[in-house]
């Protein structure tokens, strides 16, 4: 029957697909409404915790800050120093981290907010394990520019995760440059 090719039949097919898509969209809108506030809350908490970890006492967000590297996304300022959120590119994707810098340009500490580095390798940088804390602790007290030992610097890279370590160094450098520009 020629009905199969008629425009009306194709329209019916398209409408059925549209109906299914609309039903799915409605269901998703519902789930999104339930989960979105919780997700936003979790994210805000994570950022807040990261600021506290590197800049005790927290800080107020700044609207304007100098950034030549393109890595700095947010800066929070307080009386003791700054908390700079940077996003260097690691092995797999962007690493979001918070760098605390005091007014004299010395790093107070770093905290990794999010990443997708390989478990057991680059992920160690963010882990709450001894190895992770040892790695992150190296940055405290640094100033000017940091780099891994392979590039002539003082930072011991994570075994097998040179790229991740290099990325974190570049993030710290971007933060230091930003604070130098603010002072």
């Amino acid at each position: 029957m020629s009905q199969k090719n008629s425009a009306l039949y194709i329209l019916r097919l398209a409408l059925t697909l549209l109906a299914i898509t609309a039903a799915v969209a409605a269901a998703l809108a519902g789930v999104n409404a339930i989960t979105a506030p919780r997700i936003a809350q979790a994210n805000a908490l994570k950022t807040q915790q990261a600021i506290e970890a590197v800049l005790p006492g927290g800080g107020e967000p700044l609207d304007v800050f100098p950034d030549e590297t393109g890595l700095v996304s947010r800066v929070y300022a307080s009386d003791t120093g700054y908390a700079v959120e940077v996003t260097p590119t690691g092995f797999d994707n962007t690493i979001t981290m918070m760098v605390g810098v005091d007014k004299s340009g010395q790093v107070l500490g770093i905290d990794i907010i999010s990443h997708t580095e390989t478990a057991g390798l680059g992920a160690v940088s963010a882990a709450k394990t001894t190895a992770g804390e040892v790695f992150r602790g190296q940055f405290a007290g640094c100033s000017g520019e940091v780099s891994v030992a392979k590039d002539g610097g003082s930072i011991d890279a994570i075994t097998g995760a040179t790229i991740t370590s290099r990325a974190i160094c570049s993030g710290v450098n971007a933060a230091l440059a930003c604070v130098a520009g603010l002072n």
Partner: protein
Amino acid sequence: MDYINSLLGILLSAVLTENFILVKFYGICPFMGVSKKIDTALGMGMAVTFVMALASAATWAVNAFLLVPFGLTYMQTVAFILVIASIVQVVEMFLKKSVPALYQALGIFLPLITTNCAVLGVALVNVQKGYDFLQSVVNGAAGGLGFTLAIVLFASLRQRVDKADVPKCFQGFPITLIAAGLLALAFMGFSGLKVF
């Protein structure tokens, strides 16, 4: 100049240092299944590259003009896969009419491009990395080129493996996977390559 550098950087990384198949693991299914003859592999690779570039462009546009302004980012997965399925459908119809020889050679693998992780993967990664339109298209095309490079290399490997004496329980996919693993090991040598 900086912008062109960034584009070249994306190109180089998608093809070599972060090769879509051998490093990031997108597009494995067709990689295993189609690559026995080099010319089929090449044809498949070209088709995928074309779809990936087109899909990157289309999904970027849908995301930028439809999903983000209306706060519908949770519909990304659904919208993107529908866009990709439509593109593949159109490419299929086009090939059937214009290049029937290629259409026959690709067979079932053409509609299967829809379920190729590489196509949806690159679309999602473009959004994740916040690429603009041109960067997304370059990433999509380059990812496809990396995919093509990997499957052509792999097809030639498989031709040799098929003639070798393989232990019984390794015959078929196991030995293929081990060969792919060695190829992945070789590509690890590119890591850290940063010319641009």
